[in-house]
């Protein structure tokens, strides 16, 4: 390959692909260290209570086991995220089912099972709260017995981890504007929308292997954890506190990771600390891998949510003002909930122009296992609310869903609800036109309206329009202060060193493409260093759709910087890959090493105010319109998606095949979120923690998914690329429920919608089982409409 042909925008074979198709890729459970023991976790059987006693059954020879208790922790008993409320091991008090209490290790995996059964724990149970509403009620009623989280030095109040109040202008001017708009409005439309928890369901469960090293006097010198994870430096940070060691003594190595989706963002800090504690105590390397049931019951899931909208609208379909109350269920500890809440709050107003808007966000504590990161990170929840609500408004005031959106879309030069000026071109009108055309929307609307008559299969189409911010929210990127290295190797190739991880989304491949293009060399001549904190700098966590855009841009800059050095050393202006290699070799012969190190520089034009919650929330947004076509069978009460079209504007597409795969995979998860995947809870415990009864879509369940891209390069990403990882999770659920309403006339405002929900709504409307009569009632239990008469 010559340097002239572009590499970005082509689809080279993924870097680690060959090892994967050969079955040679080494995931954590495929690895073993000499003398390695196995670890397991003794977990709480109750949701909330104090631990009265722990007894060890006499049938077990406990001398052969290693047991770690809170008192064994050399540093702080905490898993640190934003605050230190989350213990590494429960000490005296438990706050959710499956909370870790003790750790046990043994050389034989099988021997652990009997030991786990032989630990008997007695509790004095305390009352728990299990929903957002119960948690709120405890606060409102001053019910001290049900205040399950007291507040922390990092903010938050009783039962509430964090609150945000976001105004489209100054508080006073916005409140006045809202009051006046609600006075003058032709319609005031309210709605409540709810989403359930969702399991990430990566096919590889969480797992790690830890080692602990001591010096000659027996003091702990360092720890090393390798495993399945997204964010090696998060785990480094957790280990520094648990072991009271400096950063450079806590080494973390990411191994091949079999899916993550956010589920391996914060959780590896827990399992990684646990394994390291066992390794410290037993003096052997220790592996902990969860089985599916433990992984599902005990690890993080997507936050359940509730969004309440109240909107003032004119009769010609202009949004005049709105208030949005967005609440998420954070589970028992704060973990990442404040940040999830932040993204959800900022995305709640959708891609629309609001003269006046107020969004209140709050993350409530409950006695469920802590909820955590999952692709979309709060945005799918609040976008579900606004995109269902827009269809509601349209229906109420007598416009089509399309026309209502067209009259309110944000466009170039507008400001968003946080006051961010959209200076890059935004054309949602065109996006909507194209998406509806690609999907054959108008033709189908007409056709289905006819064919549904007298049919037991009701078909419908619906869509959702949305935007998704790439990168950390607000001042997050400036705080992360990411660094990347690009090394020239003795054989003349270049090597990327970052803590950004591959877990299927294509990190290695796209970063190597960016590096190759910047250096003007072949893709094959750029390689990727395994994320090992002993060698790679902290390029930030692999989350928030930030890798392509933020880390990619850093690699691009590092490439240009290296090229400058080599040009000064004689590399010609239009070099070939071979000339590059030759130049590197002679440079290294003279200087020994060549490393190009680049640090994030916040764009001077980007400003964010954490106090007022205003400013440039994200460096760039991806824009999208997704269209779903559904069939609802009135005999089986099953809703299925029969076709899906996803159009998105993502800057520059770096690798078309990987990008399509990302979007398709996200859409599939979104379809699961909407109509298949339900977490069933009983007193805070997940009851269906098996693949047998938690149903994710199979190859037979999914429709053809058609992916379409628009490219409008963004200056903040390499060659104009923006993030795409989370985007596809946002649109499917509202698009599908809008389509179900189009098909049946029934508005479902809670996901997931399972056959029993459809059955329940149909029968409550007096629908005879298995009938096929026309069915065009508009029934919406959760929405209140006021027609304002002047």
């Amino acid at each position: 390959m010559s340097h002239q042909s572009p590499i970005i925008g082509t689809s080279p074979i993924r870097k680690e692909g060959r090892a994967k198709v050969l079955g040679e890729a080494q995931y954590i459970d495929d690895l073993s260290l000499p003398g390695m023991w196995f670890g397991a976790t003794v977990r709480s059987a109750v949701a909330r209570g104090t631990i009265r006693s722990i007894t060890f059954g006499e049938e077990i020879n406990w001398d052969a086991y290693c047991i770690v208790r809170p008192a064994d922790i050399p540093g702080e008993n905490t898993i640190v995220h934003l605050t230190k409320d989350h213990p590494c091991l429960a000490d005296g008090m438990v706050n959710h089912p499956e909370e870790p209490i003790l750790l046990i290790a043994h050389p034989d995996k099988i021997a652990l099972l009997a030991a786990l059964k032989a630990v008997h724990i007695e509790y004095d149970e305390l009352p728990g709260v299990f929903t957002i509403e119960e948690s709120e009620a405890a606060v409102e009623n001053n019910d001290a017995a049900r205040i399950i989280w007291p507040g922390s030095d990092a903010g938050g109040t009783a039962n509430c981890f964090r609150q945000y109040l976001m105004y489209s202008g100054t508080a006073e001017e916005t409140e006045d504007g809202i009051a006046a708009a609600f006075e003058a409005a032709d319609f005031i439309i309210e709605g409540e929308y709810a989403t359930g928890a969702q399991e990430q369901l990566y096919i590889e469960n969480n797992g790690v292997i830890a080692e602990c090293f001591r010096d000659a006097t027996g003091n702990i010198e360092s720890v090393c954890v390798r495993g399945s994870m997204q964010c090696p430096y998060y785990l480094v940070h957790a280990l520094t506190l648990v072991f009271n060691l400096p950063e450079e003594k806590c080494r973390v190595i990411q191994t091949e990771t079999g899916g993550a989706f956010g589920g391996k963002e914060d959780f590896p800090s827990v399992i990684g600390s646990h394994a390291a504690l066992l390794a410290m105590k037993c003096g052997h390397p220790v592996k902990i891998t969860y089985d599916r049931a433990e992984d599902m019951a005990a690890t993080t899931k997507r936050h359940p949510s509730r969004t309440r909208h109240r909107t003032a609208v004119s009769k010609d379909g202009k949004l005049l003002a709105g208030t949005i109350d967005f609440a998420i269920d954070g589970g028992a500890y704060a973990t990442l909930s404040p940040v999830v809440l932040s993204r959800g709050t900022i995305h709640a107003p959708g891609p629309y122009k609001w003269p006046f808007i107020r969004v209140r966000g709050k993350a409530m504590a409950t006695n469920l296992p802590p909820h955590g990161a999952f692709r979309g990170f709060g945005a799918p929840q609040s976008i579900f609310g606004i995109e269902r609500h827009m269809d509601k408004i349209a229906k109420t005031i007598g416009l089509t869903p399309e026309e209502l959106r067209r009259r309110n879309f944000l466009t170039t030069g507008d400001t968003t609800a946080t006051g961010q000026l959209l200076s890059d071109p935004v054309d949602m009108q065109h996006m909507l036109t194209r998406a509806l055309n690609e999907a054959g929307y108008h033709e189908k609307l007409a056709r289905f309206a006819e064919s549904n008559k007298g049919s037991a299969i009701k078909r419908g189409v619906g869509f959702a329009a949305f935007m998704h911010g790439a990168g950390f929210t607000g001042s997050g990127e400036a705080r992360l202060n990411s660094v990347v290295y690009l090394d020239a190797l003795p054989d003349g190739r270049a090597q990327i060193l970052v803590s950004s991880t591959e877990f299927g989304q294509g990190t290695q491949t796209i970063l190597c493409q960016v590096g190759a293009q910047a250096l003007g060399i072949a893709y094959e001549d750029v390689i990727f260093h395994q994320p090992d904190t002993k060698f790679v700098p902290n390029s930030g966590p692999t989350v928030a759709s930030r890798t392509a855009m933020i880390v990619g841009k850093l690699i691009e800059r590092a490439g240009k910087k290296m090229l400058e050095t080599l040009r000064a050393a004689g590399l010609s202006e239009h070099h070939s890959s071979d000339e590059f290699k030759a130049c590197v070799k002679s440079y290294l012969a003279e200087h020994g090493t060549l490393r190009s190190s680049v640090r994030y520089e916040p764009p001077t034009k980007i400003f964010w105010d954490d106090q007022l919650y205003r400013g440039d929330a994200y460096p760039g947004y991806a824009w999208a319109v997704y269209v779903a076509e559904v069939a609802v069978d009135l005999n089986t009460y099953m809703a299925t998606v029969t076709r899906f079209d996803a159009l998105q504007e993502v800057g520059k597409v770096i690798h078309p095949v990987l990008a399509k795969g990302q979007i398709e995979g996200g859409v599939a998860q979104g379809i699961g979120y909407a109509i298949y995947e339900k977490c069933m809870w009983k007193d805070g415990r997940m009851m269906n923690n098996q693949m047998t009864n938690y149903i994710m879509p199979t190859s037979a369940d999914l429709p053809p998914i058609h992916i379409h891209f628009e490219e409008v390069p963004c200056i903040h990403g390499p060659e104009g690329a923006k993030g795409i990882g989370e985007l596809p999770m946002d649109g499917p659920a509202p698009a599908i429920l809008n389509a179900i309403e189009n098909a049946t006339g029934i508005a479902f405002n809670t996901i997931p919608v399972l056959p029993e929900d459809i059955f329940e709504r149909l029968t409550s409307l007096g629908h005879p089982h298995g009938g096929s009569e026309d069915f065009n009632l508009t029934v919406d239990r959760d929405t209140r409409v006021e027609e304002v008469t002047a």
Binding site: S11, I13, R14, E16, G17, R18, A19, K20, V21, L22, G23, E24, A25, Q26, Y27, D29, D30, Q200, L201, Y202, I203, E204, N205, E256, T257, G258, G259, A260, F261, D291, R292, F503, G504, Q505, G506, V657, L658, K660, G661, E664, G665, G666, V667, A668, Q669, Q690, M691, T692, M696, T698, S699, A700, L702, P704, I705
Partner: protein
């Protein structure tokens, strides 16, 4: 302990194992063939799929005993001397493997499918792979890979599953 003899990826082996040990564990622990993965341990995900006498089975549900006298093929037996099988090549080119954890099982399921239906319809592909869960891809790139593999006939590589 029972002595069990079977042919695995063309080689005959005799091993002593507890008769009810899961075939999955025999492969991974006793034979160090870690290409076969565990996703659920209850027959739902297909990550542990292997071919047993040409049939696709979930090795987490198969007791070692049942492998007595059988011909087994795992992902390690799909390629020949480092040369990718057309199915593997197509998964690679079409983006059928993302995180890769479902890929070994998915490739064996594809091999089984193409043995049965050399020119499968979309419905046959969807049904044929329905026992293999993939959380990353949404299956579309996998379908493309299967369709592409079906068009390649390579006599040198044909019948490796038998």
């Amino acid at each position: 302990m029972t002595s069990i003899t079977f042919t695995i990826n063309g080689t005959t082996k005799t091993i002593d194992v507890p008769p009810m040990k899961r075939l999955l564990d025999v492969l991974r622990e006793d034979l160090h063939l870690t290409g076969t993965k565990e996703g659920c341990g209850e027959g739902e995900c297909g990550a542990c799929a292997v071919l047993l006498d040409g049939e696709l089975v979930n090795s987490c549900l198969v007791p070692a005993l049942q492998a007595e006298g059988a011909k087994l093929c795992t992902i390690e037996g799909v390629s020949t001397e480092g040369r990718l099988h057309p199915i593997q090549q197509c998964f690679l080119e079409k983006g059928g493997a993302q995180c890769g954890i479902c890929t070994p099982g998915m490739i064996l399921a594809t091999q089984h499918l193409l043995d049965k239906y050399p020119n499968p319809t979309m419905e046959q592909i969807q049904e044929g792979l329905a026992g293999n869960l993939c959380r990353c891809t949404g299956y579309m790139r996998i379908f493309e890979a299967v369709q592409a593999a079906a068009t390649i006939t390579d006599p040198e590589l044909a019948g490796t599953s038998r």
